[in-house]
């Protein structure tokens, strides 16, 4: 039962670099919050501030109604899983897990019970007498998890815990972490740069960029309604297609295509138009615009078509179609969209304009 409240949290270094700027965030009980962003966005710094490993320059961090800004890491009742696991190399798996409990003067038989229980949950029972160097990557990862859960802390912190594992193991561990978190119902904060991990693990997703929160929401909310160009291109793989377009009194024009409609509610001028690859449909008749296929990536279930628009200044975009579509490099395709799938972004502020797609109507393509 624990909640976290971050109010105006900021981190700046002696050289003036602002790693995290005026950040607000509420984390509910038993919630899995994922902090995601490119490297240097301040996500790890934020996590380390919550852990107490970095000093908080300004702002207030509250865990369960208690301000913990000036508490030592050990006094915050949190547990952290490090990217490199940070297992104590000179201790056995058992002692690695028992170390924190011993520091808290837990009775010996209680330690034994907790460690054995956690080991069973993580299938580590056979390995309790081994030293970390005798374990595989996945086993080390599980020991690191065991060390965290054995203390039954208020909050779990995960600092890119899966990035040292190979792809297959990463997927397995991802699922295991999710199940474990559900089962223990412990408030968790998870840092990653991998947007698949972020989407799959998060109850609440926090997208960070340059020390600022770009957007907070459920993974699907963020996927469907990205608040900014940054979020739109960061979440989703392959990334959302962004095309240059112009808002004119009679509609939105991109290349030689025009989406006619009432554009009074949008400022006239340049605009960025966002389209997810799976929202583009190939049509035989009456397409909105035409493209030429430049490259094809076959992923099995899907086919990714890297195309260029057939304009004087071609714009690149990716189309996702089903895996066995018969399409060749050099093919010319007509594409169509549903208007509600269209996003418009301000080219200067990069914010989503959340325009009312009902104002647009699709008419025939205007060929030059």
């Amino acid at each position: 039962m624990s909640t976290l409240t971050l109010t105006n949290i900021a981190k700046s270094y002696a050289n003036g670099y602002q790693a995290v700027q005026q950040l607000d965030l509420d984390i509910n009980d038993a919630e899995m919050v994922v902090l995601v962003g490119p490297s240097g966005c301040g996500k790890s710094t934020l996590l380390r501030m919550i852990a107490g490993l970095e000093e908080i320059t300004s702002g207030e961090l509250v865990i369960d109604g208690q301000v913990v800004n000036h508490l030592e890491p050990g006094e915050r009742d949190i547990a952290m899983v490090f990217q490199n696991y940070a297992l104590y190399p000179h201790m056995t798996v058992y002692n690695n897990m028992a170390y924190g409990l011993r520091n808290r003067k837990t009775p010996k038989d209680e330690i034994h019970r907790l460690v054995t229980e956690a080991a069973e949950m993580l299938e580590l029972s056979e390995l309790l007498d081994r030293k970390p160097k005798e374990l595989s990557g996945g086993q080390r990862q599980r020991v690191a998890m065991g060390r965290a859960i054995v203390r039954e802390p208020k909050v779990f912190l995960f600092d890119e815990p899966l990035s040292n594992l190979d792809a297959k193991l990463r997927v397995q561990m991802r699922i295991q972490i999710k199940k474990l978190q559900r089962r223990l119902a412990t408030t968790s904060i998870y840092v990653t740069h991998d947007q698949v991990e972020a989407m799959t693990l998060a109850d609440k997703l926090v997208v960070l960029n340059k020390g600022n929160v770009e957007q907070v929401g459920t993974p699907l909310e963020i996927y469907d309604n990205p608040a900014s160009l940054f979020v739109a291109t960061f979440i989703g793989s392959p990334a959302m297609n962004i095309l240059d377009a112009i808002v004119k009194p009679e509609g939105i024009e991109f290349g030689t295509s025009l989406l006619p409609g009432n554009t009074q509610l949008i400022n006239l001028g340049d605009v960025k138009l966002g389209l997810r690859p799976e929202h583009l449909q190939i049509v035989e008749h009456n397409p909105l615009f035409e493209v030429e296929v430049d490259l094809i990536e076959a992923l099995g279930a899907d086919l990714l078509l890297y195309c260029n628009t057939l304009d004087a200044q071609p714009q690149a975009l990716v189309v996702r179609v089903q895996g066995h579509a018969v399409i060749h490099i050099g093919d010319k395709l007509g594409l169509d969209i549903n208007l509600q799938d269209l996003h418009l972004f301000d080219p200067i502020t990069a914010k989503n304009l959340y325009f009312d797609s009902n104002l647009l109507q699709k008419k025939e393509v205007i060929y030059a």
Binding site: A51, G52, E72, I78, M80, A86, K133
Partner: protein, 293 residues
């Protein structure tokens, strides 16, 4: 395919190792051989005749209470120097690791004593410890210690111990600092989150992890105290008063070059050589294997 990279010309590698080999031969192997030969001989006081006596020199050494006393003095001296130099260097490096400002300044000055020649260090501390003009003896007066290393054997011993320790701390400091820095920072962080304070972290995480370095330094410090402190003792006490600071190495010099009992001196050298060999074996055998993670 072999990954071995070899020289095509067979004279080049020989030319490259020749200087080192030559130095080893002239300054180590040859004198060592001489010592072994000489240890079985007895020479008359004028150096006119030598006589083969077998192991007689060794037998008389082990029946000589002075020699056994010197053994004890050396052990006392070496253990004190090694422990003091290791503990103080460890404390200094533990603190130096956490210095954020003026790091270079601290580290540079902690390393300086190593660059001071032993004889110079000896004279320097002899001044400080001088019963009449020394700063340290003046300070000891304040706490009513009548400091007199010229007549008091244990005072003299402390004086050479402190000087030898002072010189060795730098070396230990360097190794400890490097070892502490190689302990991953995330281990400290994990331990901090596990509720362990700075001192407990040092005792339960850092110290066990640098144990290979500690063991290596222990052996090196023993070797230093046994063999490399001759100049300090020679400059400060000449083994006195009444042999209270006469270590084994000093006795080799004293018996051989002052007492001119070359046979006995050589026999002592041979015993010391055996000791060095033993320490070296211990170091190679254990440092590499046993205490590593």
């Amino acid at each position: 395919m072999s990954s071995h990279v070899g020289f095509k010309n067979k004279w080049l590698p020989i030319a490259l190792i020749a200087p080192q080999l030559l130095i080893t031969l002239v300054f180590f192997i040859w004198p060592a051989g001489q010592a072994i030969v000489q240890s079985t001989q007895l020479e008359d006081a004028f150096g006119l005749s030598t006589e083969f006596v077998g192991l007689e020199n060794f037998v008389s050494l082990f029946n000589d209470s002075n020699y056994l006393a010197s053994f004890f003095t050396t052990l006392q001296f070496s253990i004190t120097v090694a422990v003091l130099a290791l503990v103080s260097a460890l404390i200094l490096s533990a603190f130096a690791e956490h210095i954020t400002r003026g790091t270079t300044f601290y580290r540079t000055f902690l390393i300086w004593p190593y660059a001071v020649a032993p004889v110079v260090a000896g004279s320097l501390w002899l001044f400080l410890f001088d019963p009449t003009i020394g700063v340290v003896s003046e300070m000891l007066q304040w706490v009513n210690v009548d400091w007199d290393p010229v007549l008091n054997g244990s005072h003299a011993m402390w004086m050479v111990v402190i000087t030898s320790t002072w010189k060795q701390i730098s070396y230990n400091f360097l190794f400890f600092l490097a070892a502490l820095q190689s302990v991953p920072k995330s281990l400290h962080e994990a331990a901090a989150i596990d509720g362990s304070g700075p001192i407990k972290r040092f005792m339960t995480i850092s110290f066990p992890l640098i144990s290979p370095t500690s063991f290596f330094l222990l052996v090196v410090n023993f070797v230093y105290a046994f063999f490399d402190t001759f100049a300090v003792i020679h400059a400060m006490t000449q083994g006195g008063p009444s042999n209270s600071t006469s270590t084994l190495v000093y006795k080799v010099y004293n018996d051989g070059f002052i007492g001119l009992n070359l046979g006995s001196s050589a026999a002592q050298s041979v015993i010391l050589m055996a000791l060095v060999a033993l320490l070296t074996v211990v170091q190679f055998k254990y440092v590499e294997k046993k205490v590593a993670y």
